[in-house]
Symmetry: C2
Subunit: 269 residues, 2 copies
Amino acid sequence: MSEFEQATTVTPRGDGSYDATIHEGWDIMGNANGGYLIALAARAMGDAVERPPLSLTAHYLSPGRVGPVTVDTEVVRAGRRMAVVRGTVVSPEHGPVMALLGTFADQPDAERAGPSVVDAAPPDLPPFDECVPAGPPVAMNVSGFGHRVVCAYHPDDMGFREGNPTGTAMMRGWFEFADQGPIDALGLLVALDAFAPVCFNREEFPPSWAPTLELTTHIRETPAPGPLRCVFRSRFIQNGMFEEDGEVWDSRGVLVAQSRQLALIPKPM
Amino acid sequence: MSEFEQATTVTPRGDGSYDATIHEGWDIMGNANGGYLIALAARAMGDAVERPPLSLTAHYLSPGRVGPVTVDTEVVRAGRRMAVVRGTVVSPEHGPVMALLGTFADQPDAERAGPSVVDAAPPDLPPFDECVPAGPPVAMNVSGFGHRVVCAYHPDDMGFREGNPTGTAMMRGWFEFADQGPIDALGLLVALDAFAPVCFNREEFPPSWAPTLELTTHIRETPAPGPLRCVFRSRFIQNGMFEEDGEVWDSRGVLVAQSRQLALIPKPM
């Protein structure tokens, strides 16, 4: 069992609630990574309907601290193909951590897939070994999460680490689990929230905490084995908030997941 | 009171549930427009926390038919600034219609807004009067909705109507309510789901029903008065599904809303 599978184990209570644990070592400065929390919740929600996530939205309520949590699930509708499920991650000590709503379904078979029209290409990345491995918020590397996943950044996007933002609100890089464990639909949820906020590469913003309000993920294909190519961009940093659009591509050059999050701009600490 | 305000009136029961009515004339071939349903739900959810929507996700469960519905709301967390709310639109006759989860908040004041970095421009549209007004799924114009809103399409994007798709999965146009009623945050939710599916402009797909699974909206600014410029695009039509990304810009040239939906590709009817 991989580190990720272990850390997202859930145990059904039989009434739609699941016992789980926010494990040590998946945190950034003491707070559990958001993608890890989403994956933990999705493990329970997916178990409730026996399908993997297709589209999953999470609203972040409070920081996830190490310790026991429950994931309360409620099946809104379970059809033959699609199931819509609500989830809530609750810490008995700290209260509600995350609220989720998702549609769960297997990827369609070839017959249902129909024609493809893809008007995009994977990010142009140097080979994995020529990229810069770093924990996610590189400027704040007191982070267990950086030991569980490898985000190997495009060298051209690393300016922010030396105090020289590139000027483009973009981050590109390779993603894999540190133990090279397999990446399934739940693993993709981690990849989609693992990189440093893109506004770190704009000099207007300090490389500080950028709290996510909401993150929506779409799983678009089952990933082939191997590290994933990721790119994150923002086009609208305004009104104290920014959207961050993510794409994850697998080793075949197939888009396997997309994300958009809405976050607060980082403020000086 | 505008047609839109009338058609989205909700009456609190006092227990978190609201009585509402899916009004006649907001349908496409008998099914209520999705953006209208989201706005109806958002009216109740926003009332429950006395704030407008900031980020709202809807999963579509079944077609909305004219008649009475309830909107059940549940406040997950109400902070000083942000409130997270669940919503469910239920028809007493037909069952659950839509499940929603959103963060509601006022747009920030100037002090909180901070620096802006916008790396995009509004779509280049001919003047309103030179665009082509049309009900939303133009190929299926048995639609009350087309009398409630005006989607005035860019002439260059109208090829699909004559059976000559442009080859680009994009739709651009102006949006306003037919009675020129004011467009607030709730009105933006309608604009974000009012245009024809972008894959109508790819010859691989028939101009037929493209069922939305999930739609996430972000309200990014309070719109100034006047018609709105809208653009919708898809880059990944694959595996039987496509994402559609929307932008809505106001008369000042400010981005006021974004959307992404995941929908099933249209199949021959």
